[in-house]
Every structure is written in C-alpha cells, then in structure tokens.
Amino acid sequence: VMSFFKGLAGIKELTKEDLAPALQKLQDQLVGKNVAVNIAEQLCNSVGASLEGIKPGSFSSVSRLVRSAMTDALTRLLTPKQSIDILSQAKSVKKNEKRPFVVVFCGVNGVGKSTSLAKVCFYLQQQGLVVHLAACDTFRSGAVEQLRTHARCLKAELHEQGYNKDAASVAKYAITTAAKSNADVVLIDTAGRMQDNEPLMRSLAKLISVNSPDRIFFVGEALVGNDAVDQLTKFDSAISTLAPPQSVPRHVDGIILTKFDTIDDKVGAAVSMVYATGQPIVFVGVGQTYMDLRKVNSKALVNALLK
C-alpha cells in the first residue's frame, strides 16, 4: 500500500478510498492491542475525516500520515485535561474545610479495588497524610480480613463493622469517626459488582449519595477487553440515575487502571476507558506490592499502541 500511494503523493487530494486501506490496517492493530472495537473504529473514522481532502506532501505516504494523525489523536485523548493530583486536593480540603478528604473505590469483581486502595493509602502516607480505611465490602468472604491485613501492614486505622451490614452506614460511621480523630483522608473500599446488577448498583449509588465523597474512582483492569466501555459507562450513569431521589448527581471522577504488569504491550484498555467517559487515569497499578502504583505516561502508552 505504501509504495503505491507514494507515487500519488503531492498530486491529488486524499479521498476516503485512498485512506481506507491504511485506516483499516491501523484499526486492526488497535484492536490487536486490546482497544474496544467500536472505539478503534470511531478513532479511525475521525482520523480519516481529518485527513480527507488534504494534499499529502511529496515525501509522506498515506500510511505515515494516518499514523501521525492517530498519534496526535491518542496523545490528546490520553493526556489528562484536569488535574489528577489528589495529594494537593486532599490537603486543600483538609485545610479549608477542616474535614477528611473522602475517596470511594468502585468497580466490577476482582479488578483490584482493595489492593489499589491500599497502594493509594501508602502513597498518601508517604506524603505525610494520615489515612483511614473503611471496610465497606461487607459481602465478599474475607473482604474485611483482607482490609484489616492491609491496615495492619500500613499502620493505618481501619473502620469496620463486620459482614452483612449496610455499606452506606458503615461508610458514614467511618467518615464521622475519622473526622473526630482528625484524619486527613478516608479511603472507602466497596464490594465488587457487575454493572448490570441493578440492586447492587443501586446500593453503590446510595453509598455515594449518603456520604458525598470528594472523589469516586472507578477501578478497572488493563486485562479487560470490549467490556471496558460498558463497565465504565454503566457505573458512571448508575451512580446518578439509581441514587435516591433528590441526590446530587455524581459521576466517576477518575480511573485506576490495574494489572498493567500483566498485558505486555496490549495497553488498549487505557484507550477504551478514557474514551468511554472522558475521565482521566489517575493511577496505574503495576504489581502486587504497595509500591506498584504509577502516574500514567501517555507518551509511552501511545508508543506501545502504535509500535
């Protein structure tokens, strides 16, 4: 394809037909890197539209043009538009409002919510903040003991009321108690749930409505395929539409992308998730220890996708 179009370069304006083969190839590559099919398609369509009618310079092949436009589009997408610095946000809430900064971790089963919560706790403690944990997964066997183990290792205070309790009230109790003891941050663990399970999604919406956390982090794993989009959009909409009447509408405020160490260069879930709601990736999980938490490197991501 490349050599064929090289001959045309500089001669005529690019048409849809000129672009189609290179775009299809790129789309397949993105899908192979685990970008959701519909999103790979939409990205390629908009890159195609931006190049239609352009007269390529004499040295550029169509495929090179397409790749460079895609590099720009992906970089724009993956570079956070708003601040993702929760450290300074937490400090400013504590200073100005004299109360702890509250973060809820939610997501489907087994993605790494509780582990990420422990990593974020460690990160904030390293920066000198006093962090309390709230065991609001009152359903899954071992969930409370899992958090207790982390609390012990991290020397963080844990608020728990055992199993089969109303998660929203456990969170309320944790936040009130933490505020009394002058904590800087409260991190709330929740039970994993499938995005189509309405009763469970309703209970998450209630927990959020009752406790008005400062941040709602969606935890998703880099291993997830096309389901990434559905997970994120359904969590995002459920926490407003399934909330009790008169609640302040809320949305997912950020993404934690876990298990990044298990996917080699198949980093496409990052694209799917950010594309789904426009929310930034706040942290990336790269292993199973407390240190394995990173900020996203959008340039490296784009390189891995287009390599």
Binding site: N109, E145, L147, M194, L223, V224, N226, Q231, Q288
Partner: protein, 306 residues
C-alpha cells in the same frame, strides 16, 4: 444470556447473505466481515478471527454453489464448524476416579475467581457424593485464608490452611497428605494469582505441581478478558499441565470471547462456568450444546457432520 448477542449477530449475518439473489464471493466476504466484527467485539483473539474468515472462504466452493446445492445450509455449516473448532479443544475433560484421592490444583491470573470457583467446584461435587476437601495454598494475598475458610465453612467442606506458614508449596503438601490419609476423594488446592511476566510466580506454581502431582490442573479465567487472554493461557499451559478451564463472571455483560480464546491457548476444554458470586452460581459446560444454543440452532450435531 451468555454470548447471546453474538449468536444473534452471526445469525443475522448468515440470513442477510442468504437473502442475496446471487451468492458470490463478495456476498460471502461481506457476511464474514460482519461475523468477524461480532467476534472481535466479543474479544475473540484477532488471530483466530482472521483464521476463521480464511478457512470458511476456502471451504466454500463457489462453483458447486452455482450448481444449486443448498447455499445457505452449506455456508452456515462451514461457519458453525469453524466456530466449534474455535471453542472445542478436541480433548476430553480429565476423568475423576471414585474411591481414589483426586488432587485438583486451581491456577490462574489475579482476581479471576480461583478461590470462589474452588469452593463452588467442591460444593458441586460434594453434593454429588464425593468426599471433598479444600487446601488453601495462597500465602500471598491478604485475607486469602479467611476467604477460603469462610466460604468452606458455609458449604460445610473440610479445609486446611495456615495464617503463619509462608511457604505455599509446604502448605499444599501438608494439606494434600493429610486429606489423603483421611481418604478424601477430591482434594482441591487453591493457589495465589499469578501472571506470565513474573517468573518467580510461575516457578512456584511448577514446584507446587511437582510436589502434589495433581490429577488435573484447572485454569480459571475471567470472561471479560480481552486480547491478552491467549498469551497468558499459553504460558500457564506450558508451565503446568492444564487439563480443564473454568470461565467465570459470565453473569456480567462480557461476551466471553477472550476467555474462549483460552481454550485454544490451553488446548483444554471448558468444564464449568461461573455465573455469580454465590456458591450455586456454577454450571457444567458442554461446548457443542453451547454453540448450538448460541446460534439458536438447537442440536447442531447434524449440521456439524455435513
């Protein structure tokens, strides 16, 4: 439920094709593109999707079609065959022997549902009259023993584990030996989550497998997994002798194609699926009846032999 959308889309693509006045290569290609898209959206590995397209095209003999054989049936048959090939490992599940100690080791990626499925599997067999026990050989994950213990207690299944021992291989040996002494028939060993990128974790799994010499190694995979499924599945298989696959979380929205790619990756059949968090949310799995249901074709054994 499971993969339902995919079935509908494949059927629609086949129907649209057979509505065409002339069925030529272009029409079949268009149908295959539709099917390919549906499979990719269900996370089937992109390599297998390309393979399926080529195989179907190669099998359809356009000259014969022109001569008036039943086109729809012939092409549908080719598609179904190739889909089955994708899902069918060609191997039978490892048989369990009554009255003997059968040691079963559960392995898989982090958080994919090993511990939950272990207990479901134990519960399922215990109800069928097997003398069943669980061994927790996960010394890594916080709360792992409590999780297994609480689940096993609910299901009234004897269990073995430790809060203080840090060597999972040692624990596995102790647990298995103890239950062998007590004449248990099904001894299920739960292990930590691991992934191919971390060598030490795979070495630990190999040591454990050598030490307890399992009758079957069950690879547990989350149905929502995408394109990384096959690489991981292959790595597990080349490290231990995986004999069966359990696909979990099929109660979600995920279409499970990624996990199904694990079948090709491990060369082992899916034996059970997990469809919820509760003990009984667990079903035996049969590939052929599954593909039949998937395509809304009823029993497809007739179609398969065309």
């Amino acid at each position: 439920m499971v993969l339902g959308d995919l079935g509908k889309r494949i059927n629609r693509a086949i129907r649209l094709m057979s509505d065409a006045t002339v069925i030529d290569e272009a029409v079949v290609k268009e149908m295959l593109n539709e099917i390919a898209k549906a499979l990719l959206e269900a996370d089937v590995n992109i390599k297998y999707v390309a393979q399926l397209k080529n195989r179907v095209l190669n099998r359809v003999k356009f000259e014969e079609l022109a001569a008036g054989v039943n086109k729809r049936k012939m092409i549908q048959g080719a598609v179904v065959d190739e889909l089955c090939a994708l899902l069918d490992s060609g191997r039978d599940p490892v048989p369990l022997k009554k009255g003997k100690p059968n040691v079963i080791m559960f392995v898989g990626l982090q958080g994919n549902g090993k511990t939950t499925s272990c207990v479901k599997y134990a519960h399922y067999h215990q109800r069928k009259g097997w003398k069943t026990a669980l061994v927790c050989a996960d010394t890594f994950r916080a709360g792992a023993f409590d999780q297994l213990k609480q689940n096993a207690t609910k299901a009234r299944i004897p269990f073995y584990g430790s809060y203080t021992e840090t060597d999972p291989v040692k624990l596995a040996i102790e647990g298995v030996n103890r239950f062998k002494l007590d004449k248990f028939e099904l001894i299920i060993v739960d292990t930590s989550g691991r992934h191919k990128q971390e060598k030490a974790l795979f070495e630990e799994m190999e040591q454990m497998s050598e030490a307890v010499n399992p009758n079957d190694v069950i690879f547990v995979m989350d149905s929502s997994i995408g394109q990384a499924a096959e690489d991981q599945a292959k790595a597990f298989r080349s490290s231990v002798s995986v004999g069966s696959v359990i696909v979990t979380k099929l109660d979600g929205h995920a279409k499970g194609g990624g996990a199904l790619s694990a079948v090709s990756g491990t060369g082992s059949p899916i034996t059970f699926i997990g469809i919820g968090e509760h003990m009984t949310d667990f079903e035996p799995f049969n590939t052929q009846s599954f593909v039949g249901r998937l395509l809304g074709l009823g029993d497809i054994s007739g179609l398969m032999n065309m």
